[in-house]
Amino acid sequence: MPDNDKRYTEHAENTEKHGKQKRKIHAIPLLPCFPCTNYFFRLLLYPLLAAPLGVFILYAFSQGWFFPAPFPETWTSAPFARVLSDPRTLSSLRDSLLIAFAVSLLSLVIGYPAARALGLRQFRGRQVVWLLLYLPTVVPPLAIGMGLNILFLQIGLAGTIPGIVLAHLVPTLPYVTFTLAGAFARYDEAYEFQAWVLGASASRTLFTVTLPMLAPSLAVAALFAFLISWSQYLLTLLIGSGRVITLPVLLFSAASGGNPVTIAALALVFLAPPALVIATTIRAPRDLSHNL
């Protein structure tokens, strides 16, 4: 691992040095047969990716769209508004947001020390810790969920939001820890030493130096945790025991209900927060990135 880290740092330095050249390489088309291949490739790819979204929008904002008609007869936001004002949608949206934010925060709090140790320190059993952290990504979630359910039933966490938050930490922690460990491998503790000798306490150094320095990576890690928690269906269902209805659970039951308008509107609601988060953070790292 130390060799890997070193290579990573060297690579980062090289990229910094030859930034311009690297960027040029990125501009080379994916299939360099014709100059316009890249353009056609995109022309096919983007509609393919956008198609399901388009169908959702068509369904959610229309009325009376039946088989032979190529497009809906009337355009209206009524079905979307109806689904959105449904108290069940609102409460599931609130629970989903609450759980996802709590999971993001807790993942950072728990993942930070682990990542710091893995990224900055050499210690006996480091490889074993990496392996243990990888495990949740390999073990089937159903097995984890069943086991946790039995445990949580005994200690009274089953069917509660804290229980679900804890369960969601299982799949989010590996991603958060890996992302932050990578950031720490490129990090230089001497920034903290500087803050200390200038009179800053350990906690002050954390908040005024370390966290701002790592802000881009922290944002990416939090985003991972948020998205994983947000789209979590199985663990929520198993631990929530039907008492906590998050958006994915509601969407699943709607999907089995078979009303395409409701499904489409719910799917759009489900898509909105991640889309919003990605849209805002996609620019953030560029603003926050420093010459580390």
Binding site: A195, W196, L198, M213
Partner: protein
Amino acid sequence: MSRYIKTMTQVNLLNLTKRYPNQPAPVLKDFSLCVENGELVALLGPSGSGKSTLLKLITGIERPDAGDVQFDSVSILTLPPSQRGAVFMFQKSYLFPFLSVEENIGFGLKVKRAPRDEICREVGRMLDLIGLPGIEKRKPSQLSGGEQQRVALARALVTRPKLLLLDEPLSSLDTEVRLNLQEAIRVIQRELGITTILVTHDLGEAMAMSDRMALLLKGEIVAAGKPEALFHRPPSLAAAQFMGVSTFLNGRKAAGSLVTPWGALQITCVETSPSTTYAIRPEHIRLEKEPATNALPGKVTDCVFRGEYIEYQVAMGGLSVRARMPMPAPTFPHGEPVFVKLPREQLFEVAG
């Protein structure tokens, strides 16, 4: 600068020992050094000689296994790094990239909850001191390497530290910038009268900047003293090698002369130990065409033109002697037989 309160600090490092786990030899062995108030002491040593570890022990980033660090005869080992009043400056500036120059310099004062107008005033004064007024609002990434180091110095000094630690602060800079900054740091250090320890592997830098020098090898001080004294008469073989001496003559003493395998040489001091080593600085060696007193025969094997001097390598038996002849110097072609003159008063004895 009259308003700058001069901090009086004598620093005492007593028998410091530090060993890292999984390493057989300790990084520092029973290391003792006293730095007087306002003095600049340079620690000269190759990488891995324990220089940086020493600074970490003084600032409290690492704990020593044994020994004590005292400021004005009071142990500071129990204090956390933030309360020791020892600041450092590294090869890299480590300016906080997300803060402006002003915020960087003011960091130490802000942490101490100084009023805003005082921070502003002190930052302005520091920028004047380092010769970069008016760059308050810039980001570190907009500064050159030399400017970054100057700002790092200002950030370290604004808190009025008891001790300034410089860890190879100039080794990543271009020669010209480096020489300028050497002078600037020296002037500021004298002006503020701040006790300073400079760690470097550059002999020229150590000599140009320090009041006193200590040569460090494998965690131990090999020799210490004034730069001039150490340069001209290094006491030991290791110290002499440090100071750029490469000619060592082993021999036996007999009645005011040194009998070497290459011939007998007149020497000044006569001591009792019969077999001994004498050394001479490369710039004191002269090459002659004709035989002379204290001249041994040899053959020129290499010649490098260095501008201010020409450097010759002369093979003398199995020994290769380096001689620096200041310009203008006589030219000797490759393979020319010459006489290597070792002036009697420039030969000095070195201990094993």
